[in-house]
């Protein structure tokens, strides 16, 4: 994951709020409303750079949430 989590914590990701993102180091490689939307990018990355492990997560949004 390298610097991906630090980037996730420190970057302004407001435009991705509520979306799934693929982050590698200091770059958002893909985003989408559903996991399906980012699946292809993760698979491409795995083939191209097998050692690269991206952070794949959902960016929190400000809508009220109860689990």
């Amino acid at each position: 994951m390298n610097q991906s989590y630090s980037y996730y914590m420190n970057a302004n990701l407001d435009k991705y709020a509520g979306k799934w993102v693929v982050i590698l180091n200091d770059k958002v490689l893909a985003s989408g409303d559903k996991v399906f939307d980012i699946k292809r990018k993760v698979e491409e990355l795995k083939k191209k750079s097998p050692d690269a492990v991206p952070l794949v997560t959902k960016v929190q949004d400000k809508r009220l949430l109860v689990l």
């Binding site: 989590y5 996991v35 399906f36 699946k39 400000k62 949430l65 689990l67």
Partner: protein, 136 residues
């Protein structure tokens, strides 16, 4: 194991890695003391962890009087630091995977995994989380 400290942004979440049959998924997971279980969205389990999801689903009560069905699975879970290094690893953790896609779904660490192994302190004013390993 030393105390693990994290900052968070909007809601308490920590970086984790889940491993299932050689498939890795690095992500963040919400911390929820109100949840008995650890929960993974269906699409993630299927597409990132390649879980077959053939086990019999169980009924799980959720907030708002709703319920859903979760498929029990065993995974290896690691808590990571901000550089992605494994700080604590737990093998054969039981998780529940949603039996279908739900919109606005989240990965949740509940009482059965995180809280069983750590005393969890959350400071909302400082947006900080401390995971203090439980004494054996």
């Amino acid at each position: 194991m030393a105390t693990l400290k994290f900052k968070y942004r909007l809601r308490p979440e920590i970086p984790i890695m889940l491993k299932y049959m050689g498939n890795l998924w690095h992500t963040t997971a919400l911390i929820d003391s109100g949840s008995d279980i650890t929960y993974i969205p269906h699409d993630i389990a299927r597409m990132m962890l390649k879980m077959p999801l053939r086990s019999q689903p169980e009924s799980i009560d959720a907030a708002g009087g709703k319920d859903f069905r979760g498929i029990p699975q065993k995974v290896t879970m690691s808590i990571l630091d901000d550089k992605g290094k494994e700080q604590a690893t737990f093998k054969a953790i039981k998780v529940y995977v949603a039996d279908r896609h739900y919109d606005n779904d989240h990965t949740v660490l509940g009482m059965d995994s995180l809280f069983k192994n750590f005393d969890v302190k959350i400071s909302a004013s400082h947006k900080e989380i401390e995971l203090i390993p439980c004494s054996p």
